[in-house]
């Protein structure tokens, strides 16, 4: 008995150390964001005497945080809404009508998922650049195009699990396919809708490469874009850069802590299905 308990104690200690080690990067970023320049230089590994929250004020202004937050939010919400509607509708049709078109569309989705973004970014940019259609709206459209394939495949699986007798019952009640879809079938797969929203929102919120190519106007910058340029301006003023990093991380960490369970299930589902 004693041996079992001491073994448990040892493993608990080891696991705690691993856990602390794993969060430590976050911890020192937060610690050093609350220091002056000297404190970071003296001992970046832990707290020092000089403590101030002024860095956050400077970083907030330099990042134009309210504005960039708004841009990130609009782009993420717009893209996710469009992706959800468009891919759910398509997946519904191909899950209900079996035939050559449906399987072709399914294979197109599976096939386009193989194409890395880096293999299409040059022509994509020149295509949209030629008609001078860039920045926020264009970003929403590109995000949608890049995400519908995976979302259709996820939704397709979910709709397959919804019995067709539900469709038939709604049709007998006189509902059109659109009505059946909106009021009966779509609500029946809401867990999958949660997954699709979370997966895409995380990807789009954090994206840097695509926005860096598409956004070319002041006032359209998202948080990662602004953070990148702010970092370049702060060189050797780590406390400012770190305060900017903390600010940039707060929204997603807070949201994660609120929706933890849902986020982790979604991420797993997105990978396995």
């Amino acid at each position: 008995m004693l041996q079992k308990r001491s073994r448990k104690f040892i493993s608990l200690t080891i696991f705690s150390i691993i856990g602390l080690f794993w969060v430590y990067p976050f911890v020192i970023v937060v610690i050093n964001s609350m220091k002056g320049k000297r404190g970071v230089f003296q001992n970046p590994l832990w707290f020092t005497k000089d403590f101030s929250l002024n860095n956050f004020k400077t970083a907030f202004q330099a990042l134009d945080f309210a504005h960039s937050f708004f841009n990130s939010l609009i782009i993420t919400l717009g893209s996710v809404a469009l992706i959800t509607v468009v891919s759910a509708a398509a997946a519904y049709a191909i899950s209900r009508v079996k035939g050559p078109f449906s399987s072709i569309i399914y294979y197109i989705c599976a096939g386009t998922m193989l194409i890395p973004f880096q293999s299409i970014m040059i022509p994509l940019l020149s295509l949209f650049g030629k008609v001078d259609f860039l920045n926020r709206t264009s970003l929403i459209i590109m995000n949608t195009g890049l995400s519908v394939s995976l979302s259709i495949i996820l939704y397709y699986g979910a709709f397959q699990g919804v019995s067709k007798s539900l469709d038939e019952a709604a049709a007998l009640d006189g509902a059109y396919p659109l009505k059946t879809f909106v009021f009966v079938i779509f609500p029946a797969v809401s867990p999958m809708t949660g997954t699709v929203i979370i997966l895409n929102a995380m990807k789009i919120w954090n994206d840097y490469l695509l926005p860096s190519l598409v956004v070319n106007k002041d006032g359209m910058y998202t948080i990662p874009l602004k953070m990148y340029s702010f970092f370049g301006e702060t060189n050797s003023e780590w406390q400012l850069a770190l305060a900017g990093l903390v600010l940039s991380m707060i929204p997603i960490i807070v949201l994660f802590l609120l929706l933890q369970k849902q986020v982790m299930t979604s991420v797993t589902e997105g990978a396995i299905k």
């Binding site: 794993w22 970071v40 519904y92 022509p123 850069a241 991420v267």
Partner: protein, 284 residues
């Protein structure tokens, strides 16, 4: 048939248009681009010349080789650590393990640019302080050396991805029926025997999924590379995605960069088919 033909197309067409406009059309144009000497403004058809030059371009070959090396190393480490984490957090169902799961997963929430900057701080400032107080040279100048710079990106990526892969293993571990494990325990099986003969074989599909996911992600890695080392010193830590980006948008050799993009596509496709073949064989 409940859905009529015109209704079917109304449901499907928007998605199809997005895929065609954003992925299929650019991809086809891209194949053509790779046969031209386009600089973004003018271009003329030069056949296979880009590909011929690419296979003699030492910077390209170096970045491709670096990407392969990076992928292999990080796939191994991420799956090893991810599996270890999964075994830790499923060892018993309590608050402590739930908190650990959250901690392990957390880096995965943060975008590559922010992660790169976090680790730039660690490798420059924190490592320097550590090296100073321990009087060890080991910790100095990690990002100004090609070898340690490479390992810096690996460490960052492992830190980011392990928690993600852990979740996949966890979901497969949880689907092992509890009474199988209890029965084995009653038969006197040791912990390591349960791990080797019951848990690991059940995890085979999780291995293929995780392997493919990490491989695909590491082939496409760009933002972490940019924010941590920006390819330096002297382009020695520049991976394939960054090579494509710099060639296209810094040097404006767009046709040439696109040829490299097509090669990247072939690499990723090859990996995916290997995975498909592997998992098919595993299922039989």
């Amino acid at each position: 048939m409940l859905i009529k033909k015109h209704q079917y197309w109304a449901f499907v067409l928007p998605a199809l248009l997005f895929i065609i406009l954003i992925i299929a059309l650019p991809f086809l144009i891209g194949i053509y681009y790779s046969f031209t000497d386009s600089n973004g403004l003018n271009s003329s058809f030069i056949g296979l010349k880009n590909y011929q030059i690419l296979f003699r371009d030492t910077i390209f070959l170096q970045s491709l080789w670096l990407t392969v090396k990076f992928s292999v190393v990080s796939v191994l480490l991420i799956n090893l650590i991810g599996l270890a984490f999964a075994l830790i957090v499923t060892s018993s169902d309590n608050r402590f393990n739930k908190a650990l799961r959250t901690i392990f997963f957390m880096p995965n929430l943060i975008g590559g640019i922010l992660l790169g900057f976090i680790w730039q701080f660690i490798f420059t400032s924190a490592f320097k302080a550590l090296g100073g107080s321990l009087n060890l040279d080991f910790f100095n100048g990690w990002l100004s050396d090609p070898a340690t710079g490479f390992w810096g990106i690996v460490i960052l990526f492992v830190w980011q991805m392990s928690g993600y892969i852990m979740l996949i293993y966890v979901s497969f571990l949880n689907s092992i029926p509890q009474n199988t494990i209890q029965a084995a325990r009653l038969d006197g099986a040791e912990r390591w025997q349960i791990l080797m003969f019951i848990k690991l074989p059940q995890l085979a599909p999780a291995f293929t999924i995780s392997l493919f996911l990490t491989l695909a992600n590491s082939f496409k890695l760009y933002e972490q590379n940019l924010a941590l080392t920006n390819g330096g010193p002297y382009r020695s830590t520049e991976m394939i995605s960054m090579y494509i980006y710099n060639t296209a948008f810094v040097n404006f050799q767009q046709g040439y960069a696109q040829a490299a993009g097509i090669i990247l596509f072939f690499c990723v496709t090859l990996v995916s088919f290997l995975q498909l073949a592997l998992s098919r064989r595993g299922e039989r």
